[in-house]
Amino acid sequence: MNSTSSRRPQTAAETQDRVRAGLARRYRAERRFRAYGIAAITFGVAFVIFLFGTVFSQGVSALRQAYLQIDVFYDPEIIDPAGNRDPDDLMVADYQSLVRASLRERFPTVEGRPALRELYSIASSAASVGLQRRVTADPDLIGQRERLWVLADDTVDMFLKGKVSRSAPEEERRLSDAQIGQIDVLESQKALKLRFNTAFFSNGDSRDPEQAGVRGAVVGSFLTLLITLLLSFPIGVGAAVYLEEFAPRNRMTDLIEVNINNLAAVPSIVFGLLGLAMFISFFGLPRSAPLVGGLVLTLITLPTIIIASRAALKAVPPSIREAALGIGASRWQTVVHHVLPLAMPGVLTGAIIGMARALGESAPLLMIGMVAFIVEVPTGVLDPSTVLPVQVFLWSDLPERGFVERTSGAIIVLLLFLIVMNAAAVVLRSKFEKRW
């Protein structure tokens, strides 16, 4: 500011002039300020769209997978040479050679070991597992012919999805010219195509991208969340009811409240350390188990549920309590018969939001060993397992290209679950919440 403008204006006219002179500048500042706000919001919203767009565009291709149609002859010479249909023998028989034989039939001109090996690698190693499953389920298939779809190798899958360039020099891509020729033939015979990827939803983890699925992680997440819900909902609501309806105002209550507020802001990885030192090392619970994961997540979600439930209880007007107490109900009867049912929509909303947070949590679960490579789908809360976000983390680390789309696919599954949960919370809130 220069010296003239800092001088105190002498007359009303002078003041008006000064204000008028500054108006344009001030309005410009106003517009600028508003533009900053719009820019900030636009950036935020654009990022949301960008993030979801990237993940979906990368992951949507995981929904489709290259499948190969083979005419397989269940040769008794190969899978049941003893001819006694012993289930143990059928389990360990050489189904790989059945797949290979059918590929040789289709390309009878291919000869020599290296060329054959290339031909065989078009089918996934999982193809033989499918045959084994069919034969052990129905031994009568032995000696018959069957046409069925099996998984193709992940490099073939990438090629069909256009992620392996045809024009790249042969030594720089993972498919040889001969293989590409065979793929073209198979495609023209309609024996190789992209179909809906059932393996992705029915398999557990695998080192081969084409066989890896999210089923194990989804079941693991479900079991973990089940434990979390069973523990954190009653304890959380109980604590909220106590603090809102029963607690006397004293040191102890203050201590509990300060604690809950602080726990809500403690980094989740610290809870993981607690789980490791306490549940695994001290109490000797098994590593990688949904039970331990559920216990840790219970402690993490408790503050969320308690705080939300308290807000819901607080929103119930005192007149309800007074009326119930007035006609002779005890405090506990008042709470159970009147206050809690009225607060239930809010309490449930809080619980769902807490569960959604628990579903997305991964850092503390790394601490308690839920990062192990586990192929089997868990069947109980003590089985080793992993959860969806940790599966995302594990796959994102793997070098194969097929895992990039699998990672995004798993993220899509995770986000879908979260969207459903949050939508349920929104519906619950808007539909059942009473405004007093």
């Binding site: 500042a29 300020f33 706000g37 980094p267 030192a277 983390f393």
Partner: protein, 462 residues
């Protein structure tokens, strides 16, 4: 008989106790028509009986389950040949590990030595006996308590009051879980960190500038000095958090101002949930995004500008973390701004201030303490954030303030030190707990200050 079946039986006993208590109260009253002579409703007598019956049974069950394994292991161990018992502590630990794995069915019995296989058989046999006796003891105590509670039922017994007092204690126990959790965190972390500081001096940890936690397994190994100077980690954490704050604070603050002061209710209704979506996305998704999209993007931009950007630069992790924190800052700031009384704004408008002048010179100044509190909470969240940095930041400790280089953070080191590691004795694993302790203390301090500031601010306008 597995513990879960025993638990189901206890619950069944509770249902039975309820029925017995209810029937008994009706009987002592002299029939269903005369229940008015009872102090409480028959159902209350039933609930009270069920409570009295289940509590002791559950207590026995809990104590038994917690201590069973260690007692059984000791028993089995004392039955093993003297040769095994005389093993040094670390080998004994391995042996017990094998034993546990065989018992849990993780490894087939044919893969371990004979004594261990025998011990595993012993263990399983003892476990069966233990479970059976647990079922007997817990249910027996439950039945005894049930009979005792049934005998107490008289018309004068104030069943409702007694039962409600028990409920109140149960509710108190629920809320005490929060305190127990904090206690558990402090005890477990402080204990393990204490063991760490027994081998590495506290000052070396806090002020040392060299972090390479790989301790030598053999004495002649190269490059495994086992240095635990945590300064590079602290600096890395602060660097990434600072980048995150540079992104989150202006963006969050401006969106909050716009939504609170300028936006129409309709826009607010649409945009606010959209921004909050950012807070609901799992952090592992942000991490993946940082690695696959933001990192490469920054590299290309850096190359175009002639800068060398590391693949796992602090900038990429910080940027993405900042975006994650935007809704956190904006919703807190929004709360604080809307809490400023309208009269302050009206006063400013009356003096001729424009909207932005009112916001900048009146509203923000009035809301400043609250906003500072919110930013402190956001900082504490950035410091404790794990997945983004685990995926997008580096592993090697690098003492630098250049956000284009790769740095590592406290949380990254905790994860890398603990994931996959089984033993609890090496300073390497214990170092993770020392880092955890620092993390806990710093975030706790930030939270306490922030909550205090926010509460003081709220009281000011209430």
């Amino acid at each position: 008989m597995s513990p879960s079946i025993i638990l189901v039986l206890i619950v069944a006993l509770a249902v039975l106790a309820f029925q017995i208590g209810k029937a008994r109260s009706i009987a002592v009253a002299g029939g269903p028509r005369n229940t008015r002579s009872l102090h409480s409703l028959p159902g209350h007598y039933g609930l009270l009986t069920a409570f009295w019956c289940v509590l002791p049974a559950l207590a026995v069950f809990g104590v038994w389950v917690v201590f069973q394994d260690s007692v059984l292991t000791r028993l089995v161990l004392s039955n093993m040949p003297a040769e095994q018992q005389a093993l040094p502590a670390d080998q004994l630990g391995l042996l017990l590990n094998d034993l546990r794995n065989v018992v849990a069915g993780n490894i087939p019995a044919s893969m371990v030595s004979d004594p261990v296989r025998q011990a595993a058989g012993d263990f399983l046999r003892l476990q069966r006996v233990a479970h059976l006796s647990l079922a007997g003891v817990a249910l027996g105590i439950g039945v005894l308590a049930l009979l005792w509670a049934r005998r107490r039922i008289r018309p004068e017994l104030r069943a409702r009051n007694e039962y409600e007092r028990m409920v109140e204690w149960a509710l108190f126990a629920c809320s005490a879980v929060a305190v127990l959790t904090t206690l558990g965190i402090v005890l477990s972390i402080v204990f393990e960190a204490g063991r760490f500081f027994g081998t590495v001096p506290f000052t070396d940890f806090l002020f040392g500038t060299n972090w390479s936690p790989q301790t030598a397994i053999r004495a002649d190994q190269v490059g495994s000095s086992g240095a635990f100077g945590a300064v590079p980690l602290f600096v890395g954490t602060l660097l990434i958090s600072a980048v995150a704050m540079v992104v989150a604070v202006p963006l969050g603050l401006f969106s909050a101002i716009y939504l609170a002061e300028y936006a129409s209710p309709r826009l607010r209704r649409i945009v606010k949930p959209l921004l909050e979506v950012l807070a609901g996305v799992p952090t592992v998704v942000y991490g993946f995004f940082a690695v696959t999209t933001v990192g490469p993007m920054l590299r290309t931009v850096g190359e175009a500008l002639g800068l060398s950007v590391a693949g796992e630069s602090a900038l990429a992790a910080g940027l993405v973390m900042g975006i994650m924190i935007i809704p956190f800052v904006s919703s807190l700031a929004d709360d604080m701004i809307t809490a400023v009384p309208q009269s302050l704004r009206d006063g400013a408008y009356a003096l001729g201030a424009t909207r932005s002048e009112t916001v900048r010179q009146v509203v923000l100044r009035a809301a400043l303490p609250g906003i500072v509190g919110g930013v402190l909470l956001a900082v504490s969240r950035a410091i404790g954030e794990t997945m983004i940095v685990v995926m997008a930041a580096g592993l090697a400790a690098n003492l630098t303030l250049n956000p284009l280089e790769a740095v590592t953070t406290v949380t990254v080191q905790i994860v890398t030190l603990l994931v996959g590691d089984q033993e609890f004795d090496s300073p390497k694993t214990l170092a993770a707990f020392a880092l955890g302790l620092m993390l806990f203390l710093v975030t706790l301090l930030l939270n306490v200050i922030a909550l205090y500031v926010v509460r003081k601010y709220r009281e000011q306008y209430e």
